[in-house]
């Protein structure tokens, strides 16, 4: 048992009372004074040269205040500095159906719409490239001629570790398969929205639905050629992201430009179809994979060929290309591993980061293959996995550092709870049970911008009233990041959450944080918050000692955060080390229930009121301020691409899933899932459960029904009616196991919980379908028609 008072306790989310009463202001709920309404004209063609673009008639309309085209922007944007290839508005050519070509700012939305109709555009169509295989071939019309490549290949990644040949030769079973995956969108409920306020000195305040205020800040500054200090980015309440709001996006730049040109506040709200166009969803993927298994030696070799269809622009694509391979290294050791991933440009929607970024589709392939190999060797798929799972404190073949890993216990518990042994291969035809595992990063150790600024900084202030304000650049996008930061501060300072106010995601008020993506906030911003709080505690201890007339404590030299091997050259923030389940702040005081009590020395047993101590400290110093930082330790090897997938810690997940397959209709009903997720110390169990339940929803959507439907480059199902995300009826019964380890470097021992859960649910369904009716599905989503076709093929009854 831990002695925590806040950490580990189910804690209602900060802001949930605002949300449940409708008071929470999302971006479009803000009312800026007298705004112009911005609208975008979008390309109806997948690929064309813009031969004429004339805004004059639109601009002549009474009430139209400004208009812009690609010519109004000098630079291109993109989240990765190494691949910024997207113009805020199309310049000479359009590259996908729905690409914004021009924008108008007008006094009303109806005027804006009229004006957009008056814009004259003439296109010279170019044969679009819509097929990812064809995109690899030489072409006279590359989508990005500026890259001077003969084909539409954007990024090609190859890595090889160990000796594949030997690895496969030593396997008892070698299995292979081809897999394909539909393009997906995040389908968050809040559409994209941006509003911009401009003051008389042309300072901009940009309110935007973004996961990454800091990156947007940088992008706006670059694209508008405006110094950073003239721009303030604020993320209001945000209606879901899942990676879809983790790029600086064209409409945000365009809105800001129109505010600058018109000198007026502007308001932009994309409709649902435009939101589909703008989200950089999961890459459509084709995978060929081969896996060798030996009953004693484990996975002896794995090789993969991935082709991912990136759409029109780069987005996070370089990272995605790596993640398709490097995220195969857990949760089992693979001594001989190779992969090759090509990312191609096509004239379709840009793809980028979506929950489980890059690791989801290859995880399906490898977990299905592992199931097939177990079948071949007549091994129990769960028992086999139990034997294979990484030990804590090991290095993977490409030098990922596995610090903590509680998956073995997790899977064993899941087996018991699901009564695996009684069910596997024993359920009647039509019912089945399947298993799959996965792992994920807790934040990328390497920042996107290669600088030495801490990845997270959190600042705390306490004023005379004793209230604590936490300033963090992290974006609460519904996952509960504000809550988790407040909890950590409350824990260290021994006060209740009601005394803590979090101000986050405002680039003027908050220190830099890289944002909410790659499951980094709990780990990185969390460590920074914890460190800031420990510093604050020291100040309060000093004041308490003054009141008690005792000497301040002599702190032990904090051990550096080295967990079990090299930390590298960087010096960690001084208090990074995990202090154990019963934290000893080595100051001889207990901070609890807003009381500060001396535990030792001559003041032992004396108790001070927290507010009294604060008052004394403020009298001495003025407002109390501290900050904490997080900078990832230097990790990884020195080979090319060694940085991809490095994380200070990894989460692990296992799913045991039970399904019923209707052999007449092919419908799959997921009856029950048992999920074991090792997120280290669950800081807020309620939030962890919410992340697991949400990941199951999204994973089952991908497994069973979701996919963008393209016809001639146009998405035909860009609506919530036709892009099928699961409803309440499709959510299965869920059992969760999630208190499985403590990570030495995570704040209070915590790791990520938001993304890693998603990937393994999908292959667990596939493996359960096999157990139920004996078919292997390799095309995702596994829709009823595919199930039925496979069943018919198996029955030898081709129709």
């Amino acid at each position: 048992m831990s002695s925590y008072t806040v950490i580990g306790k189910p804690t209602p989310m900060v802001g949930s009372r605002e949300k449940v009463t409708g008071k929470a202001k999302f971006t479009d709920d803000i009312r800026v004074a007298n705004p112009l309404i911005v609208g975008l004209l979008r390309s109806p063609l997948a690929s064309a040269k813009i031969s004429r673009l004339d805004l004059s008639a639109a601009l002549a309309l009474e009430g139209v205040r400004a208009g812009v085209t690609g010519k109004d922007f000098d630079s291109t944007i993109g989240v990765l500095p190494i691949s910024r290839d997207e113009p805020p508005l199309a310049r000479d050519c359009v590259r996908y159906v729905g690409e914004p070509v021009a924008a108008i700012a007008a006094e009303s939305s109806s005027l804006c719409r009229q004006a957009l109709e008056l814009i004259r555009v003439e296109y010279d169509p170019i044969e679009p490239c819509l097929d990812s295989r064809k995109a690899l071939k030489e072409t006279s019309h590359p989508i990005h001629p500026e890259l001077k490549k003969p084909s539409n290949l954007h990024k090609s990644v190859t890595q090889q570790f160990g000796n594949l040949e030997k690895g496969f030769a030593s396997a008892q079973a070698v299995v292979e398969g081809s897999f394909d995956f539909a393009p997906l969108t995040h389908a968050f409920t809040e559409p994209f929205a941006t509003q911009v306020e401009i003051d008389t000195d042309s300072n901009l305040t940009v309110y935007s639905a973004t996961q990454v205020p800091h990156y947007l800040h940088l992008a706006l500054s670059g694209a508008l050629q405006l110094p950073l200090h003239k721009i303030r980015v604020v993320k209001p309440y945000l209606g879901g992201g899942f990676g879809g709001k983790s790029d600086p996006l064209p409409h945000e730049i365009v809105a800001a430009r129109l505010a600058l040109i018109s000198g007026r506040n502007v308001r932009l709200l994309l409709d649902r179809e435009e939101t589909f166009f703008t989200s950089h969803g999961r890459h459509p993927t084709q995978i060929g994979m081969r896996l060798g298994l030996h009953s004693k030696k484990g996975i002896t070799a794995l090789s993969g060929e991935m082709l991912i269809d990136g759409g029109a622009y780069a987005s996070y694509g370089v990272v995605t290309s790596y993640y398709n391979g490097v995220l195969l290294q857990g949760p089992y050791p693979i001594p001989n591993l190779s992969f090759h991933c090509d990312r191609v440009y096509t004239n379709k929607l840009t793809c980028g980061a979506m929950r489980g970024h890059g690791g989801v589709n290859p995880r399906f392939a490898s977990e299905v293959l592992l199931d097939m190999a177990c079948e071949k060797l007549q091994l129990d798929p769960c028992e086999t996995r139990l034997r294979l799972i990484h030990k804590a404190e090991t290095l993977t073949v490409n030098q990922f550092r596995i610090t903590s890993c509680g998956l073995k216990e997790g899977l064993a518990t899941a087996m018991e709870r699901s009564r695996w042994k009684e069910k596997v291969k024993k359920l009647p035809f039509g019912r089945g049970i399947g298993v799959a595992c996965g792992f994920f990063i807790s934040g990328s150790a390497l920042p996107i911008h290669w600088n030495k600024i801490p990845q997270s900084t959190v600042r705390l202030t306490i004023d005379f009233d004793g209230a604590v304000t936490v300033y963090s650049g992290a974006s609460d996008i519904g996952q509960g990041s504000d809550t988790v930061l407040a909890q950590m501060v409350a824990e260290v300072l021994g006060i209740s959450l009601s005394h803590i106010k979090v101000i986050s995601a405002d680039t003027r008020l908050c220190p830099v944080d890289l944002g909410s993506y790659s499951s980094r906030v709990t780990f990185m911003a969390g460590n920074a918050a914890r460190n800031a709080a420990i510093r604050m505690r020291k100040g309060l201890v000093a004041a308490a000692c003054g009141i008690l007339e005792i000497k301040p404590p002599r702190y032990r030299n904090p051990k550096p955060a080295e967990s079990f091997f090299r930390q590298g050259g960087r010096k960690p923030d001084f208090d990074s080390a995990y202090l154990g389940p019963n934290p000893d702040y080595s100051d001889g005081f207990l901070f609890q229930d807003a009381k500060i009590s001396a535990l030792s020395g001559k003041a032992k047993g004396k108790q001070l009121d927290y507010f009294e101590v604060v008052k004394t400290a403020v009298e001495d110093h003025g407002t109390l301020q501290t900050q904490g930082i997080y900078l990832s330790p230097k990790l990884g090897g020195t080979f090319k691409g060694a940085g991809a997938g490095l994380s200070p810690s990894y989460s692990f997940t296992a799913f045991i899933t039970e399904v019923t397959v209707n052999p007449q209709t092919g419908f799959i009903k997921v009856d029950k899932v048992t999920c074991a997720h090792d997120c280290g110390q669950p800081l807020n169990p309620m939030a962890v459960e919410g992340q697991i339940e949400g990941s199951i929803h999204m994973g089952l959507g991908q497994a069973l029904m979701e996919g963008l439907d393209y016809v001639n480059g146009a998405v035909q199902n860009a609506s919530f009616l036709e892009y099928k995300i699961p409803s309440a009826f499709e959510q299965p019964e869920i059992e969760m196991i999630y208190d499985l380890s403590r990570d030495n470097e995570g704040p209070f021992g915590a790791k990520e919980a938001g993304e890693g859960v998603l990937a393994p649910i999908i292959p667990s369904v596939a493996n359960a379908i096999y157990d139920a009716v004996g078919i292997r599905l390799c095309s995702v989503p596994m829709t009823p028609d595919k199930v039925l076709a496979a069943l018919n093929a198996k029955r030898g009854n081709h129709t």
Partner: protein, 328 residues
């Protein structure tokens, strides 16, 4: 925001009659629950009426009552949620209530009416699109253009010109209940059997004349207990039926089997069989064969056409099982 239109809300059929005298055919649109109409208008601004006529204040269109000769009358404005909970309907024709209870979503059922479901617009992956998407593919016949993207050979004058699929859930059930529609128009009342109501064209859809409205639906209750309905859709809510099948099985001295499916062709397809010798198995097979032969699914839905075609027979059997038919 939608473009502007005039709005009228007549308080009686008489008032409606007067109103229509001054309106040109094609310049107005009726609306009741408004769910299908407004979502259609939002994505299809070129079909904007000059006048939207709300029927919601017409008390003549309300109420559920038993008529003579074992017939039930349901007022056109009866909302789907009311049908689902109406004690009379639950007692006399539970299948109607159960079918209504699984249409669209709870919020939509609180506005959408029975007549609205009978008249619900046909759907197609090219028609139910934004203006932007229409610019990509060109306007199809149903959207006022001159092409069918699914049957490129279709030309003006061909019949059917438009193959947008029929998606009403209630129509197949009501067809098996031998429903009759009570219509009102500028020329007065008339009755039409539901069987004669629909046309095979995805644009014209039915035999309602300009200015005509449905005032009530009358169903025959004699075989209501022998009718069931089953549908397939990927989600158990929101979605229109990918395929829906109603079945009526009546075994007395002879055996009567009727099947009606929706979601596939441009109109509900009704198959009626009877057999004095009660050779059930053969009849069922014949119904399945006829259904398969008549089905013309196109790529208009989440599910591929061949799958939807195949599912009709599966749903026939599911219904028969519900009706207590033992397949042996």
């Amino acid at each position: 925001m939608m473009p502007s239109f005039a709005y009228e809300r007549p308080r009686s059929l008489e008032e409606l009659g007067k109103l229509l005298e001054n309106l040109e055919a094609g310049s107005f649109l009726f609306s009741a629950g408004a769910t299908d109409v407004i979502s259609g208008l939002k994505s299809h601004p070129q079909s904007y009426p000059k006048t939207l006529i709300s029927l919601t204040a017409l008390s003549e269109l309300k109420g559920v009552r038993l008529l003579e000769k074992n017939r039930l009358s349901i007022g056109a404005l009866t909302k789907l949620s009311e049908i689902a909970e109406n004690a009379l309907i639950l007692k006399q024709a539970a299948v109607v209530a159960q079918t209504a209870a699984k249409i669209a979503s709870p919020q939509i059922r609180n506005r959408a009416t029975i007549a609205g479901n009978i008249l619900v617009n046909n759907r197609c992956s090219y028609f139910n699109q934004s203006r932007h998407n229409r610019l990509v593919h060109q306007f199809c016949f149903k959207a006022g253009g001159d092409i069918c993207h699914l049957i490129p050979a279709a030309r003006e004058g061909h019949s059917p010109l438009c193959r947008a699929r029929f998606v009403s859930d209630l129509a197949p059930v009501l067809l098996l209940l031998r429903a009759t529609l009570q219509l009102w128009g500028p020329d007065g009342y008339r009755k039409i059997s539901l069987e004669d109501f629909y046309t095979p064209d995805g644009i014209r859809r039915n035999n309602l004349k300009s200015g005509e409205i449905i005032t009530a639906i009358e169903t025959d209750l004699s075989c209501a207990k022998n009718v069931t309905y089953e549908k397939l859709r990927i989600r158990n809510t929101l979605d229109f039926p990918s395929v829906g099948v109603a079945v009526m099985l009546n075994v007395t001295e002879s055996m009567e089997l009727a099947v009606c499916y929706t979601g596939v062709n441009t109109h509900p397809v009704l198959i009626k069989l009877s057999d004095d010798r009660k050779n059930g198995k053969a009849m069922i097979q014949a119904a399945c064969d006829q259904a398969k032969k008549s089905a013309q699914p196109l790529r208009q839905d989440h599910f591929p056409p061949s799958y939807r075609k195949e599912m009709i027979a599966v749903l026939i059997h599911q219904n028969l099982q519900k009706l207590g038919w033992k397949n042996d």
